[in-house]
Symmetry: C2
Subunit: 420 residues, 2 copies
């Protein structure tokens, strides 16, 4: 894309009304726009990042047999009364609204009720299970205080998958598959080494749930990390009993703050029973369906990547999620430089590389400032100097020392580092 066509502009100064690094930098760079406290719109560059994250998640959900659907945000209160969760005491982040006739409707905080209810219309025999369905859907949560930028918004895009199994073993096997899928997702978006499988509270019906916690000062959770086993325990369940059960020694655990970037949750029959989701076994007997839920906040994950990778002043994107792989800067406007930059732009695009081409009539200083703030993984410069050398000046962020490459060498390099 030619940068002269991009309608968003960067700001020289960060916004003063944000208390998180992610929202501060993403707004300064024009990736997002603040509509209200905890309510952020995604502008073209931000949407490209979020779309890339979404596509990686989608590929992994399809790979475990998930079927994609899209439920609504408006929810019928009757479903929630069946599970005793309609009241603001049961779910303290409800947003509610009302039809013209006064009937109250809920705005989706989760789809743990609507999904199994929908499934009762489609699955009833043991032959119809197991089932795994997922969606990328907007959730609304009426947080008392909005903070942490796009990591805890009042409206956000979430991937939620729900599994429906006939036996505990079938559930456990799928749960393990999802655990592996989640590990692949966090590795692919570039935070695998910082992200740990964590034992957490299982609610009233499971011993544990499991979280994926990314080490970060910006995190709201405290976890105790066992680096030897690559697992962690959330502070909320840390006890002698739990340590013994997990065969961990408290002295070897390292306390750290972390961001919960995903969770997987055994739900047992908590929702399927009151909502009447059963299956008929081979002997014609009704059996309860065992559920699991598996969430990733797409915006939160983007916020976590920002927190981990960005410096205090500038964004920095892993290649797999960057809005563009290459930021091509034209410095100077001589005929040679203009022609050469255009050739580089066209050739890279032809090779399937996504390029943001800064073709603006702006000073080198402005171009560098924007380029640093955007933090695309490859910066490629064409100038009088590179023209004289006959090579391109290429910086592989976060390195700051440039390499000088011919166009064909750059393309080979990009092909080698290209994400899956």
């Amino acid at each position: 894309m030619r940068q002269s066509n991009l309608f968003t502009k960067t700001n020289k100064k960060p916004p003063a009304d944000e208390d998180s690094k992610n929202a501060t930098l993403l707004r300064q760079a024009g990736f997002i726009h603040k509509e209200a406290a905890g309510v952020y719109s995604f502008l073209p560059l931000g949407k490209r990042v979020r779309d890339n994250i979404e596509e990686i998640i989608r590929e992994e959900m399809d790979a475990v047999g998930g079927q994609e659907l899209d439920l609504t945000a408006l929810q019928d209160q009757n479903l929630w009364q069946q599970t005793d969760r309609w009241s603001d005491e049961a779910i303290d982040v409800w947003f509610k609204t009302a039809l013209k006739n006064g009937t109250e409707m809920g705005l989706a905080t989760t789809h743990e009720e609507p999904i199994p209810n929908m499934l009762t219309h489609h699955a009833e025999s043991y032959r119809d299970f197991p089932v795994a369905v997922y969606q990328f859907q907007t959730k609304f949560r009426n947080e008392l205080r909005a903070k942490a930028g796009i990591m805890r918004g009042r409206e956000f895009l979430m991937k939620d998958l729900y599994s429906f199994s006939r036996t505990q073993k079938e559930h456990d096997d799928f749960y393990e598959k999802m655990k592996s899928a989640y590990k692949r997702i966090f590795a692919r978006v570039g935070i695998g080494a910082d992200t740990h499988y964590t034992y957490a509270d299982g609610g009233s019906f499971s011993e544990f749930s499991h979280e994926f916690q990314t080490e970060s000062e910006a995190g709201e959770d405290t976890i105790y990390l066992s680096t030897d086993d690559d697992l962690a325990v959330n502070e909320e369940v840390l006890s002698d009993d739990v340590l013994e059960k997990l065969n961990l020694d408290q002295d070897n655990l390292q306390e750290t703050t972390a961001i919960e970037v995903g969770n997987i949750f055994p739900l047992g029959t908590k929702f399927s029973k009151p909502l009447g989701l059963t299956y008929t076994d081979k002997d014609g007997q009704d059996q309860p369906v065992i559920m699991g839920s598996y969430g990733i906040g797409v915006g939160r994950l983007m916020g976590a990547i920002t927190e981990i990778k960005a410096s205090e002043d500038n964004l920095l994107w892993p290649e797999s999620v960057a809005p563009f792989e290459v930021h091509l800067l034209r410095l100077g406007d001589s005929e040679d430089v203009v022609a050469e930059t255009r050739t580089v732009y066209k050739t890279l695009q032809g090779a399937g590389v996504s390029v943001l081409y800064d073709d603006r009539n702006a000073s080198a200083g402005e171009k560098f400032a924007d380029s640093d703030l955007y933090g695309l993984p490859f910066q490629v410069i064409v100038s009088e100097k590179t023209e004289n050398k006959g090579k391109l000046e290429v910086t592989f962020r976060p390195n700051t020392e440039p390499a000088y490459l011919e166009l064909s060498e750059l393309i080979a390099k990009l092909a080698n580092t290209q994400h899956e």
Copy 2:
């Protein structure tokens, strides 16, 4: 996809609580699920159709230079007070909700206010214009009565594009481009011949807006069609004055009911002025920005395609939007038939054809009933009979007379009819 893996099931009987053909058939076929009156979720087959429509629209919006973003559903009432549209008298389909502190928020009925407000943060000089931005975003409309199935829901996915121009001429030129883009969209989704450019009410600030109206008994609008000119006039603006202006003779007009599948609307400075969206011209003077809005309800368009193409009993999808191009039915379970069907499935997939493969152990009657209801454009049968012939039995819907083709002939045929 193997049909045995598809979790949705068809119903032998249509639902009794729908008054529209589209929701009746789409629910019977398991394409959508009714959450509440006027609130429909999209299940895998329905989502695939809607995604295909979305992708066609996206390509055409990108082609006219639209930049994609994604605004929120939660909206700050302050913006709407600036344009005097916060009250339920001004917008009679508001859904509202409230933060914990009591502050009321709106749920998006449109983004005519938030989009120009966002743009004030990014564009101020004549160099920053023109701009065109668009999104596929969930809208909420508190309709008094829900009817017409997915054509008039209380929650629905909408493509809305907004244009921002410096001069009336610049606006008019873009408006013409959008008109052409809309014509291409409706042609590509298969209803071009039934859809007419229609003069409609322009509100208090424009003489006309323009609708794209698709002839259908299920339509809620009445239009007067001039087949010679391929244009129409909405009943709401039909007058001697208007006929004279458009050089039309009422005697040559044909009255018909129609579904509004798209609209394009010159907004002038109605929103930009109160929201303070101006640009500085070359002489340093502030000038008002001229806006246009351009909407297509993606679900409504899917509903309109259903109304136009489906019979009373069965769906029928144009190839460009069908959830799968080919419905491959295996009739019988002899080793030869099973092996041959698998070969056809793999070969078609390898050729880039999307296939729903009915591999279930179900009767031929059940398979045919489901296949007819789903209405995929190509039905391909492998059975003992076709094995003996050495050819596949292929029906090109809506034809009912089968052709007998070799696999290579089928692939060639599919390549020829493949959508853009």
